[in-house]
């Protein structure tokens, strides 16, 4: 094979250009840009419950039911408040009548009178969907009707759900229920329609005591996210490995 000098130079130049050209499609990113591009989403919703502040008024439950069109008198709710009364004999009395929808007005627990002098401690614990990082409910859905969005919230496709109830069984926190009117599985979604508009979830908005707060974990300037990151918070049923994203301040060991 022969190759003239002219031809050799021509081929060298063109092949160099051809191999470098595609590289120009890539842009050089600064360190921050690269980090941002690698992150899955700019938003990761999480929730902070301060059990020290909850007074058990149940206005969050009422607000949730009205906001999310959950039948008011049906025994199902997306969020609920539990009352724990630990007595001196080591017993723990727990109740949540109608999910705490009407607050806790009576000191009887399940009809049982408890002697105030016998109480060691009593407190209220609001509960809601944990929007887990590894949601068991999503794994078991046979039709792809429930899923995790890019911002970490687990949603249910009401047009796609067949109402089999696997997810209701799979959730270790019991937050899912069967919607008596829509005939599909239902649960808290952090008021997705509100948080995606920059509003607070209805329960957070209606809590007068700051016991409930919403956070964006991926925002370094979010004050609530910074509480979660810097203070001593705990989660429910950590041992299940679901990586729940509802964090609690002042959670007692009695809380299940």
């Amino acid at each position: 094979m022969t190759c003239s000098r002219r031809e050799f130079l021509k081929n060298t130049v063109s092949s160099t250009v051809a191999s470098v050209m595609p590289l120009s499609a890539f842009t050089l990113l600064s360190h921050a840009e690269a980090a941002a591009a690698l992150a899955e989403s700019k938003v990761r919703w999480a929730f902070l419950v301060d059990t020290n502040k909850c007074v058990g008024c149940g206005l969050c439950v009422t607000a949730c039911k009205k906001e999310n069109e959950i039948p008011f008198d049906a025994p199902v709710t997306r969020t609920w408040v539990e009352r724990y009364v630990v007595t001196k004999d080591g017993e723990t009395h727990i109740d949540s009548p109608m999910g705490g929808r009407d607050g806790f007005i009576d000191d009887k627990i399940r009809g049982e009178e408890i002697d105030p002098d016998n109480i060691d401690k009593a407190f209220f614990v609001p509960k809601l969907c944990n929007q887990c990082d590894n949601p068991a409910c999503v794994q078991v859905c046979p039709v792809g009707a429930t899923y995790q969005t890019d911002d970490g919230v687990v949603l249910i496709d009401r047009n796609w759900c067949i109402g089999c109830g696997y997810c209701i069984m799979a959730c270790p926190y019991g937050v899912r229920f069967f919607h008596p009117e829509k005939k599909v599985a239902d649960k808290c979604n952090f008021c997705y329609h509100r948080i995606s508009k920059g509003m607070q979830p209805a329960c957070v908005e209606c809590c007068s005591f700051g016991a409930r707060r919403i956070a964006n974990l991926n925002d370094p300037n979010d004050p609530v996210a910074n509480i979660i990151k810097t203070e001593r918070v705990s989660v429910l049923k950590d041992e299940y490995g679901t990586k729940p994203h509802v964090f609690y301040l002042g959670l007692d060991a009695e809380v299940r």
Binding site: G56, Q148, W160
Partner: protein, 156 residues
């Protein structure tokens, strides 16, 4: 192979084909893997927007302040400042466009949610002013005497 073996085979293959064809029409175009992986992100993408479009009912006190500035100023100066208007007045939804008058809740039970005495000294409830439901003006609504917009002020 014998015909009686092949015949059901063709039927089975035909059925599978039929299902595959039907699937093309029945499964929406945006159904598939969108999130991090198949396990957690196999869904119909347009459902995310459907949830975002869900109607908002609780509009927040900023929305109330647009017309009811005086009432809000009064509440904000009182010990009831942290209480959201819509907790007692009901969710405003499209008020005042659609819903002319909101369903105001003036029941004793509403006040008792925070102000019923429970003997729990180490719970947050203990820090609130409270009454013993059985002993304090049983048959009356609280608002007969106490102004919820300024609890310190007594109603004539």
């Amino acid at each position: 192979m014998k015909w009686h073996v092949l015949r059901p085979l063709w039927v089975a293959i035909g059925l599978v084909g039929l299902i595959l064809v039907a699937r093309q029409f029945l499964v929406p175009d945006d159904f598939g893997v969108h999130g991090r992986n198949f396990t957690y992100g196999y869904y119909r993408l347009s459902n995310v927007q459907e949830w975002k479009d869900f109607p908002v009912k609780f509009q927040g006190r900023e929305s109330c302040a647009e017309c009811h500035e005086e009432n809000l100023a009064k509440v904000n100066a009182s010990s009831h400042a942290p209480v959201e208007c819509e907790n007692c007045h009901g969710p405003s939804v499209n008020h005042p466009d659609d819903v002319e008058l909101l369903p105001l809740n003036t029941t004793r039970e509403l006040c008792l949610r925070c102000h019923a005495f429970l003997d729990y000294p180490n719970s947050a409830r203990a820090s609130l002013v409270s009454i013993e439901d059985r002993r304090h003006k049983r048959r009356y609504e609280c608002v007969k005497c106490h102004n919820p917009h300024d609890p310190k002020e007594e109603v004539e």
